[in-house]
Structures are given as C-alpha cells and as structure tokens.
Assembly symmetry: C2
Homo-oligomer: 446 residues x 2
C-alpha cells in the first residue's frame, strides 16, 4: 500500500503556469490611488524587478521558464512528496482517498520559498543588493531571508511587533539566515514613527509593516518583496500544482481543497488542475477555505481597495473586507488579511471555484486529528483546508462515494505550538467577523 508518491529531480518542473493566458477576460487593472488611472508597468519598477512585473502584468504566455539558478535552489527540497493519508482515512472511516501535497519540508517549513527564491534571483540578476519586506507570523520573512542568503542579498524584515515579541523563534530563524529583523512599528521609517506617535504601545499590523517595508525600499539598490496576492507570486506557486498533476496521474482528483489568505497556496495547487479541466482531461470541484474571522471571499465585497491599511498602495479590484478591517485574534497569522488576490477574486467572480469559511476551533480539531493520524503537525493556516477535507470525507462516508480529495499541506506548525496548547486546554478563541464590523469597514472603501 503506497503512502508517498515521490518524484526525483529529473521531474522538477521546468516551467511555471500563467493562468491568465487561458482566461477569456483579464482581471481589471490596478489603479493609481490618486487619479485612478491604470498603473503602468514602469510605475512598479521602483518596487519590483522588471522580470517580476512582466510576469505579473504584461506576459500572457501560458508558460514561464524557471531559471536554472532558481531550479538549483528548488532542488534543496523539491519536488515535494505527495502523501496518501491512509491513517486519516481510516480514522474517518471514509471511502474517500485523501492526498496531500506536503510543502512543509522546505527549509523554512512552508510553500513561501517557492516565490521567495524566484524574487531574490530576479532582483540579484538586476543588480539589486538589498530586499525589504514585512512579515506577520514570520513564515514569509524567513522564506525571504533564506532566499536572500542563497543569492548574497541583504534582507531587512519588518515584523509585526506582536509577533516579534511572541515568536522569538521565527525572528531568530531570520537572523540565522543573515537578515535584519525590525519590530514594526519602528522608528526607522516615517510610517513607523507616525504609528508610534499615535500609540507608543502599538502591537503593529501587517498593514503598517507593509508601509514600513515599502518606504525602506526607496533606498539605493533596494527593492521590496511581497509573499502573496500578486499575480507573479501565484505564478511561482504553480510549481506545486504542476508536480501534483504528475503525482496524481494514476488517481485523478474529484475535489481540490486549499486554504486562502492572500491566495497563493490555493492558486499554486489549483491553477494547473484548472488548465487540465479546461482541456477536458478531468472535471474536479475546486474549493477555497478561508477563516470565519476574516472571510474576504464569502462575505467581502468585490471592489477596488488598498493592499495596505494606511492606503499608500495602488488600488486593486479584489474581494475585500475593507482595508481598515481588523480581524479577530486567530493564530493563522497568514490569513489575517482584509483582501484576496485580485486574480483569484476575478476567477471567483467567473465561477471557477467555490469558497467556504471555517471557524478556528473546527480547524484546530482537524489539525489535532491529522497530527495524531499522519504524524505531521500542520500550521494553523492549512488546518483550514484540513477542516474542509475532513468535512468532505465524512460526507463521502455517509454517501459511500469513494471520491479522491487532494489538498496542499502548505506548512508545518512547529512554531505554532502555543496555539495548539491553547486549543488542547480549551482556551482557544473562536472569533467570527461581526457583520456590523464588515459593514463599517466597507463604508471606507476608496
């Protein structure tokens, strides 16, 4: 009885898949926050390397060749294993066959290095010497720190103060890779200084940290890196789905489930399968799972809004809860974001996938069940996908359908044990976004 489907390095994908090439209508363009004119590629050049901008906005080629230097770093952990969750199936007494693509074996423990390595490479090739970024719970920051170490780039990470204090291990991991880590809000930027002037004890937010990192990227030979949401980031993550496509060839999925925060892990898994669906090869359902505390797809509005809390960035049309919406204190820090990838938002409107929201406790229940059966301790983020997988597998147990369910386990939870401890001791919060809070935040849309 096979448990893992491995691919050796000769099967490492050579190309990322650009889903925009197969869409009948393109997502609406980002707009200048001032005059609402469409953003031109060169407007993004102070922030990102040209190749990254081209991939995200200009290119409509179906495939983008992965540079050999990037594949060389990918080889440290890719292709990742596809694992059949026999023991979880048995515990659920389900006829469903459950597979998960395990991205947690990357050096920093999540799928984030897939794009961090690409972004560090394109910057280094363009002569950039330093990258800035923000990080919430530290997954993205450590991925970029690792990637910068591979290409000899300096790295400055603004880490949300609350996480900086509560997750010293993630901070140390970034420093171990050679990055400088700043508690945000910091005195080092005017955005940070302003936030500190308003509240010297501010715990920070991803929105403020973005503002700081963007401001700091104005220095010479410096650019900014973003870990989700943008088209090019989703493109880089399609390596997950490309590998899974080959690994699932013998048992094609009926249902593909992924967690969505900014959207890159779900997109990375789903896009290559969508392509094959459009080509008529098979016809699975696609299900995106978000937290009930921050339900941008299921309860947000599809409208132009800012990426950051302060309203510095261009406007993107996306599913949003309002840029000043503050989600409840859930442990899936990677999902505490008011918006959704504009590309995924557009595709959701086109009906390419379904979405559902899960409560924090249901997600941790699924995580505990998964750890006790499959051994791996999942991060709080993929627990959302697992909660939906468990629900669907139980449905199969009732109906007797032997469906094939595929998900991505996008990261391990080794730095999230405190959340499990709270859950096991019955002290885990279970916040749900209050309707009046969403309504109020949506009145502030630009």
């Amino acid at each position: 009885m096979t448990t893992k489907i491995l691919l050796d390095e000769s099967h490492l994908p050579a190309r990322w898949y650009n889903v925009r090439a197969d869409l009948c209508t393109q997502p609406p363009p980002p707009l200048h926050p001032g005059d609402r004119s469409p953003i031109r590629p060169q407007d993004m050049a102070p922030l990102f390397p040209m190749e990254f901008i081209t991939q995200g906005i200009i290119s409509t080629d179906r495939f983008v060749v992965i540079p050999e230097e990037v594949r060389d770093v990918y080889r440290l952990w890719r292709p990742t294993p596809l694992i059949r969750a026999h023991r979880l199936e048995r515990a659920l007494r389900t006829p469903a066959r459950i597979y998960f693509k395990y991205e947690g074996i990357s050096p920093t423990g999540s799928h984030k290095p897939n794009t961090a390595v690409a972004q560090a490479y394109y910057n280094a090739r363009q002569g950039v010497r330093r990258l800035t970024t923000e990080t919430g719970n530290g997954q993205w920051g450590s991925a970029l720190a690792f990637a910068c170490a591979q290409f000899g780039l300096e790295c400055d990470v603004w880490m949300v103060k609350a996480s900086y204090d509560q997750k010293p291990a993630r901070r140390s991991m970034m420093e171990l890779y050679g990055a400088r880590v700043h508690a945000s809000p910091s005195e080092e930027t005017s955005a940070g200084a302003k936030a500190l002037a308003e509240d010297p004890y501010s715990p920070g937010s991803v929105g403020i940290a973005i503002s700081e990192a963007v401001e700091a990227s104005a220095a010479p030979d410096t650019r900014y890196a973003l870990g989700s949401v943008l088209n090019a980031v989703l493109l880089h993550q399609t390596i997950i789905g490309e590998e899974a496509l080959e690994q699932m060839a013998g048992d094609p999925p009926d249902l593909i489930v992924g967690v969505v925060g900014g959207g890159s892990t779900f997109a990375g898994l789903a896009f290559p399968f969508l392509r094959e669906k459009w080509s008529g090869r098979f016809d699975p359902r696609f299900l995106a799972v978000e937290p009930a505390a921050c339900p941008s797809l299921t309860r947000g509005r599809y409208a132009y809004d800012y990426f950051d809390a302060a309203g510095f960035t261009p406007l993107f049309k996306m599913h949003t809860l309002g840029h000043d919406f503050v989600p409840g204190p859930i442990h899936a820090g990677g999902l505490r974001y008011h918006g959704m990838s504009p590309l995924l938002s557009h595709m959701y409107e086109l009906g390419h996938f379904e979405a559902t929201a899960k409560s924090q406790r249901e997600c941790f229940d699924a995580g505990v069940l998964f750890a006790r059966t499959e051994g791996i301790v999942p991060a709080p983020e993929p627990n959302h996908a697992l909660a939906a997988v468990v629900e669907e597998a139980r449905r199969c147990a009732e109906t007797g359908e032997a469906e094939v369910i595929l998900t991505a386990l996008c990261g391990h939870g080794h730095f999230d044990m405190r959340a499990y401890e709270r859950h096991l001791s019955g002290r885990l919060e279970d916040p749900e976004a209050p309707p009046e809070q969403i309504e109020s935040a949506l009145t502030h849309l630009p």
Copy 2:
C-alpha cells in the same frame, strides 16, 4: 547536478542489521547492581517487551525482520532523502563531496521515531496498554508520544523540569499526540518526591526522570521505553545506514561522521557500512563526535556504571564520566549523558571507529554555515557532526583530496532557536568538562 537521492517505498528496508552477529567478542553482560551477577533476559521483562529484550541481548541473527506494521508507520516519512551538500561544499571551497542523510523530516523531527515506533509496536502486540519514559529536551518524548498514538497506547512522559519550563513547545507537541507530560521531579513517584524533598526548586535531570519513569512503569499493563543506549535501540536505527548504503552506492564514502550522545544515530548510520567494510566492499574511516562538555568516549573510563544518576539500574560496562557527573549547560540536551552505549563502547575498545570532541561554539558556527548554505536549520546535536565534517572538508581543501564524506543530520533545530539566538548574539556558553570534575565523578563508580 543531482542534489537529492530519493528512494521510493519499494526500497524501504525489510530488515534491521544486528551488528553483534559480526563481532568476534560480545560486549560484557549487564550486571545486577547488588550481587554483580549477570542480568538474565527475564529480569528485564518487567521493563521491556520480550521481543525487544530478545533483539538486544539474546539474538545473534545478523538480520531482524521489520514487522509490516512498523514499516507501515515508517512509510509516513521513510526512506529519508540523502542530500548532497553542494552549497556547503562551495562555501568551503573544498573538493570533498559531502552527503547528509536527513532524518529531520520525520513527524517529530529526528531519528528517534525509528525506534519509538518499533518499541510501541512490540509493546502493543504483547498487550501492554501504557508506556512511560523520560525526556530531556523533548525529542525522544515526542517521538514516543507519536508512536503511541499510532498503536493506541497511553503515554506518560517525565520531562526534566528545566526543559518543561523552557521548552513549552515540545511539551505541547507531546500533548498534541495525546501523551501526558509530567515535570520531573514530580510528586507522582517516590523518586520524584525524594528529589523534591531534598530540593523543592530542583531543575531536574535526565537521571531523576529515568528513575521516575522506571518507577511508574511498575503499574499494571505498563512498560518503560528508552530512546538510546540499548542494543535493540541501536538495531532499530540501522535502517538509516541500510538506506544510506543503497543511496551511496554510486559514490562510496571515504569517511562516515556521526554525533554520539547515547550513540544511536552514529550506530544507526555506521553499522551497515561497517558490515560492508568487513566484507571488503570498501574501507571508509568512521568518526564519532561528542561534546567537549560531556566527553564520555574521549575522556571517560571504560567501566561498569549505572545508567541513571540515582544508581537504580543494572550496571553496564561502558565509557562513562561517572553516573553523578553533571555536564555543563550545553544546548544539545540529547548529548548531556554521562555514559555511552555499551555496545558502541565495546566496539570503540575494539578499534572500529575514532572519536573526537567539539566545543559548543564550534558546533554552532558549523550549524549557522549549514543553515545559510543548505537551508535546513540543524538541531544542536547534529551540529557536532557538522563541525567535524566542516573540519574534514577544510582539510580536503588544503590537501586537494576529493574525499566523499557522509553524515547523518539527525534532526532539525526548529525547537532550538533560542540557542541559535544566543550564539548569534555572542552569548553562547562554551563549557568544557573540567578534569577535576571528571576525576571526582569517576571515584564514585560502583
């Protein structure tokens, strides 16, 4: 340029290798602490399942078949990858080819589940319902907790109080798998109560925790499990070397390096290669690396001593610093043990391998270099092996010899980031065992 050598599940070894079958002389028997008569197998039955006792003491079969139920659990992560450290080689400008067998991808992040799963299985098959054990930094405790979850066993872990307080994440991991974790010394055993009576603020020690777990195993349907040192544990770990033998077939090693605490990771990697050396297939050097703070092989005495600090256990002939030797505060908790596997000790006396000791700072320097080049953050324990690998690779850079170096990276350091933080900030201790302390402890040998 290949980075990883993967084996699919059809190559999962079917047998462990019993090195005692190929030794001309057997290790001296363990003795009763009272009358110093040799321990009989049935004397161990209250502590361990019969199959485990047979494997460790009685059987001289060269190979032991791995039960299918154990292999089924191994398949969750085994065979583990063998990785060529191209980037580390480049950083060292060495002609040496460096390979590491990566055991950190197991569910709990180390090689410990290799024996935990086997021990849980043999106990469950014998009708045992509950296992007790001790744990220092939590690696072994979480491995056993995971293994018990796989076979429906209850699990009680006595965790050294200092670690219990400082490593809540490891504690939560054990609880996540369903184990009960007790801070040691505890009031629940007479050994713990006695220690608390002597010092109510005792930080505990592995020695005390062993005494507590052994005492608690006297309950009905309960046995005790040990994570290193014993022959059967070393046997179970040979799956590491069996896999590596196949993976290294195309590039046979000139040097095999492993860290030794109790000795199971080094033995697990080295024994199958020793067998092939004896058969004349090749002739590598074997090098065991221990901490300068706890140098049982290089500075201890080969003599009968207790396994525990309190002197409750049988006497084993082994390299020991004395059972009441208290090593300095190094972060490699898995190496803070006064003794060495009796089997490895015997083989060291026979000249089958070399040994060296490394200081804590040199080890962490190697760990930082490894993380920045290869991405993976190593645990403090395998940093000892890496320090020796770096030294040997630099020697090759000087001499121009293109040696093939193989080591085992026995665990990741995700729960050890505090130690890295101390090292990076220049605050890491660098203790070395004082000669007078060793001398004094050795005067207390039984």
